[in-house]
Symmetry: C2
Subunit: 337 residues, 2 copies
Amino acid sequence: MKHLLPTVAVLSLAVPALAQEATPPPSPGEIAAAAPARDWVAIAPSDLLVMDLAPDAKSRPRRVVIQLMPAPFSQGWIGNVRKLAAAHWWDGTSVNRVQDNYVAQWGDATEKKPLPQGLAALSEDAYSLALDGITYWENPKTNAMRLKAVWLSPEAFEGGPIIRDDSYADAGMFWKGWPVAMAGDAKADEIFDRGKYVWPVHCYGMVGVGRNMSPDTGSGAELYAVIGHAPRHLDRNIAVVGRVVSGIEYLSSLPRGTEELGFYKTEAERTPIGSIRIASDLPAAEQPRFEYLSTESDSFARYADARANRRDPFFIKPAGGADICNIPVPVRPVVAK
Amino acid sequence: MKHLLPTVAVLSLAVPALAQEATPPPSPGEIAAAAPARDWVAIAPSDLLVMDLAPDAKSRPRRVVIQLMPAPFSQGWIGNVRKLAAAHWWDGTSVNRVQDNYVAQWGDATEKKPLPQGLAALSEDAYSLALDGITYWENPKTNAMRLKAVWLSPEAFEGGPIIRDDSYADAGMFWKGWPVAMAGDAKADEIFDRGKYVWPVHCYGMVGVGRNMSPDTGSGAELYAVIGHAPRHLDRNIAVVGRVVSGIEYLSSLPRGTEELGFYKTEAERTPIGSIRIASDLPAAEQPRFEYLSTESDSFARYADARANRRDPFFIKPAGGADICNIPVPVRPVVAK
């Protein structure tokens, strides 16, 4: 038998010694895989960005698919991203920077390529959103976990499970398939019932907008994907516009750049980008199709709880909690029928 | 100017607009770089494991250096690791599994290589340590951050800054250069003053011991390094024996395995291991030398505070906190004089 570590993927473990006993508790991946079709939400091809890197050394294709964030988050930058893709602006650019445990970044290495007309200039205010208020409901069962567990919050602007012990915010939450963070204003932050701000968070695979020093906020032409431990200190300091839903390994396994910040020293080290397109602009047969597990579903609540309290056979000590970036929202390809 | 993201490395940013103003607050990397020599602690070569992978496709060497955890953590497994290295057991084995955002794992792919005599069989109890008690002191200044900031704890078993809002424990702490987590017993966990358990945590770069299903705890022959977001759900479920202090990029940038759990499909995909040695068993001139920033020093306290509250010029909104794995302990090579 292989010496295995548990996995975040779906996993069927043969456990002969337990074969006569009750079925062991499912893993998070098994819970997601067993979710009914109604709990899966299709991602519109118009919200998918398809980045085809140059084939690898063995001529194998390398396609990275990015889901753009839904409104109302980061929509100004996302509008720019759509314009850049429509203008085929990234074709012939490259991945120029790969910094270990941090980001892979792509764009125009020459920094001389003219940008398309009509890109919006965005305000730093748009890194987070102000809300009128939030109410939430605590599950008495999991509240016994001393605010460490994940619990349901059916009223919280129609979002999914809330995570209270977030180092970077008053709370984390899942909303329409995305992890977001929330904080109160300076006067009310102990109360959680008014003056809220909410913002997208930098988890593994998230895609953000490179920028110069403040007050620059970036155009969207220079993008990066997180390839290491969640750099949450970037939250509210940079715009998050999407997340990689397929092909992150083509970015995360690139050689690290040896210059400052992980930039490559020579042009030969860069990975050329063949094209970046909005999926709905591709021929219908070539459009990738993905769906995510609704974060408002009971299935996701059970999945998140199982991520925080592993009870599947490999584990002997459930943690009693999980940080928001260790509860990745399940996304899978839609299989043609 | 490059479109830059901030970095965890030392970084000197040219900020012409501010040149006439006061010196901007230092970045965490700048704080570490400015720490006096007395705040840096040499790592004994007898505590370093040197793994030489086969050279890469361009014949460049790939050396990974791992620091073993200090006593009293995981010493049974670490004793086994020392015996395996002394027996040259890993020479000719390979990296067999690379799972994206999770781990790179190495050992004997055939699973038939006999182990050296005399390896210890360890108990699951040794995944964490019981302590008599802990007291700590809160810094009133940072306590104003509502338990979200990092503050000094000079008494807490002589450790460094404490982090209270940990999703997986009652608190995180730095101790002798390592991140650890703590929890009270079931009766006293609101009080923090008796019946404590403490254990090492799975941050990026940490090295653990692969195992089969419980009650197996692994021998130490099968090791893995974390190459993604901290899989803290493994804490107290697997032994942590060390961390990569140099060369993690040779593991994290390997191609991902395409089989279940990231195992490679073919032998050709595996990365051969030339040798693994304890550094003190190498000729003196070949022994790598490293030092870490004392986590009990004022320099580290300021570094940790700056990681949680970025005030260097790139940032516009300090987070007010950081999770323990987003405060990597600075480690650097010792430069010969």
